[in-house]
């Protein structure tokens, strides 16, 4: 139970070290990345964040964005190149991992193969607690929480993926650490098991009551688990906020596109200002920006011009109205009660989601692939981004 404070933390791999990492990791294509300079590879740049006591923070971003590196710096497995890291108000930059009182769940579990489940869980305790009875009590308690009591005498090789993951979590929670670090713990499970474990993590979180830092590339996990989400790209924080905040007010096109499935549609549009009134135009479609949004735009001194218009797939509706934009219907993906309709407008792809489950429990689909239809969206559903910088103009 502790707060974690990162102040301008950065991680730069010197060229020689980076060359070694590159050699090992041929798959990632980072050679042409802007993070690469003569100083080396900047995996994380200027990362500042205050994680409150007992908060569940999720670091999310595409692969290579520096989220795992940040987590490993908190764990002490990666040296910090610049900035300061505090755990419970103690500067820990130079402190060994074992003295930081953190626990970590690894992506590939990293269980000790020659030990039984019991010993795997007890392993960390043996260094800290002398009393065997005490160790036994704690191990059984952790096993109870995770429902793995019956496997305590087994070796990891005779367990299924989900059970191994539980053992890995058990190994971390048994110590009651100040900070619990999780590096994509669910990414190796199949979809069904992942959903189940995600739910269990939520329950677990309420029971063990400690600070969590959780890394994932899956925005669903981020949205469902996190008190706050940190979205990263190319080593930089893009936005920090509650799931609702980042969904409703994305800071830029990257965040807007990353959070939400299917991802937000982006159209080229123009913005016109007339006093306090702002109008968005896109072909035949035009709409005045809502009052509150207009106030924000005016406050930000937005004058108008070319913008990127963002609209979530769920906000697009079919219409007969003249004030609309036309698009060709492409592929239809039936997801169950809803359908994802792929559209093409002015050579740009878009996607719309619409409910097709009728009250009678039957699906009602009258979209024909290849046909041209008219669409619109509510003015409250519009997100306006700067065409050059990608920044949200309302924030």
């Amino acid at each position: 139970m502790a707060s974690v404070v990162l102040k301008n933390v950065s991680k730069i791999y010197p060229p020689a070290e980076w060359a070694k990492i590159r050699k090992k990791d041929q798959a990632s294509d980072l050679n042409a990345s802007p993070q690469l300079s003569e100083k080396g590879f900047a995996a994380v740049t200027d990362f500042s964040l205050e994680i409150r006591d007992k908060e569940f923070i999720v670091l999310v971003g595409p692969s290579g964005c520096g989220k795992s590196t940040t987590l490993r710096m908190i764990a002490g497995l990666e040296e910090i190149s610049g900035g300061e890291l505090y755990i419970d108000d103690r500067l820990v930059n130079e402190i060994e991992p074992k003295d930081r009182d953190v626990a970590m769940v690894f992506q590939n579990y990293a269980l000790y193969p020659h030990m039984t489940v019991y010993n795997n869980i007890a392993f960390a305790l043996k260094k800290r607690i002398r009393s065997k009875a005490e160790i036994d009590r704690k191990v059984r308690e952790a096993a109870e929480i995770l429902g793995i009591t019956e496997y305590l005498d087994r070796k990891p090789k005779s367990l299924s993926g989900g059970q191994r993951q539980r053992v890995a979590i058990g190994r971390a929670i048994v110590r009651n650490p100040k900070v619990m670090l999780m590096d994509e713990p669910l990414s190796n499970l199949d979809a069904k098991l992942r959903n189940q474990m995600r739910e269990e993590l939520l329950t677990l979180r309420n029971r063990i009551d400690t600070t969590f830092v959780y890394v994932t590339h899956d925005q669903t996990e981020a949205m469902t688990l996190g008190d706050r989400i940190v979205i990263m790209k190319d080593g930089f924080i893009q936005q920090v906020g509650t799931p609702q905040e980042v969904f409703e007010n994305p800071a830029n096109t990257f965040v807007a596109g990353f959070i939400g499935t299917p991802q937000m549609n982006f159209f080229d549009a123009s913005l016109e200002r007339d006093g306090q009134r702002y109008t968005v135009r896109m072909g035949n479609f035009h709409a005045d920006v809502g009052e509150e949004a207009a106030r924000k735009l005016a406050f930000n001194n937005v004058t108008g011009g070319d913008i990127i218009l963002g609209v979530r797939p769920e906000s697009i509706t079919e219409t007969e109205d003249e004030v609309s934009f036309s698009a060709r219907v492409g592929v239809l993906e039936l997801m169950g009660s809803s359908v994802h309709i792929h559209l093409e407008h002015n050579g740009k792809k878009a996607i719309m989601v619409t409910q097709v489950l009728g009250e009678n429990g039957k699906l009602k689909m009258d979209y024909k692939p290849g046909s041209i239809m008219r669409f619109r969206f509510a003015r409250e559903a519009m997100y306006l981004f700067d065409r050059q910088t990608g920044k949200n103009l309302e924030v």
């Binding site: 991992p97 590939n108 392993f123 090789k157």
Partner: protein, 278 residues
């Protein structure tokens, strides 16, 4: 379908015959040695492979009595066991450093050590002998084993094995509160037990069978001879008695075989199952 089956059967038979032939070629000297050890002096001169009776054990008792073989076996055991033990400890520590630590000139040092594998041991015989004799260590157990304390090939094999253990394992142990040495002892060595056992047995048999080096460093003190040197002394130009030598060889095989049988179970492959995903 039938043709395929016949083809496979023919292939299996041919391969089996070749394998059996190779096996026989390898095991024949041992069979010859065991049979010869049970032969009387006159039987030995006949071309028969098998002795008249396997209950004729005079050669064994003679060998033990005449050559002080028990003492030599003891010497060999001390040299082979402690030599191997020290060799394993040094190899494991060096392999760990090369596998996990980052230090300056690591690669240069590593290839330098591997380079020593290219030098034939016999080339160093004279210089090593001079060193040992100037240090007044001739005719000691230490002299017999000191040249085998360091083994580049074993270090190399252990390093490769250590490097195949995922980095996460060490990091998990670090977070659990274990330093390098305790990680090595509690996690890495148990995981790599099959390789370590194999190298241990291999090294023990090597040192047990060593002949030339123990011969020259114990030349002036017969009591310090190892078994391999001792066996050859059973036979001299004025008294040619090969069945005695063969009996000595049979006796000398016993400890290596016992070790092999004990360790065989640990030499199985594997050790990592279940640790990671999939």
């Amino acid at each position: 379908m039938m043709r395929l089956k016949t083809k496979n059967a023919i292939k299996d038979t041919v391969v089996s015959i070749i394998a059996i032939a190779i096996g026989l070629i390898i095991i024949f000297p041992i069979i010859y040695c065991v049979c010869g050890a049970f032969k009387t002096e006159s039987e030995f001169l006949t071309p028969n492979l098998l002795p008249g009776s396997f209950s004729y054990t005079k050669n064994f008792s003679d060998a033990l009595r005449k050559g002080d073989l028990l003492r030599y076996i003891g010497n060999s055991f001390i040299v082979a066991f402690f030599g191997t033990l020290i060799r394993m400890v040094l190899s494991i520590l060096a392999a760990y450093a090369f596998a996990y630590f980052d230090f300056r000139f690591k690669n240069v040092l590593f290839f330098l050590i591997l380079g020593t594998m290219m030098i034939p041991g016999d080339v160093l015989l004279a210089t090593n002998y001079l060193t040992i004799s100037k240090l007044h260590m001739l005719n000691t157990y230490f002299a017999c084993m000191v040249v085998s304390f360091v083994s580049a090939s074993q270090m190399f094999m252990l390093r490769q094995r250590f490097m195949s253990v995922p980095r996460d394992m060490r990091e998990a142990a670090q977070i659990d509160g274990y330093g390098d040495l305790s990680y090595l002892i509690t996690i890495l060595i148990p995981i790599c037990r099959p390789v370590i056992t194999t190298l241990f047995v291999h090294s023990f048999i090597n040192l047990w069978n060593a002949y030339l080096w123990p011969l020259i460093v114990t030349a002036s003190k017969p009591a310090m001879r190892t078994i391999m040197v001792g066996i050859t002394k059973l036979n001299s130009w004025e008294d040619e008695n090969y069945q005695l030598v063969l009996a000595g060889v049979c006796i000398s095989l016993i400890p290596s075989m016992i070790l092999f049988i004990i360790m065989r179970r640990n030499m199985r492959k594997g050790g990592m199952e279940g640790s990671l995903v999939g």
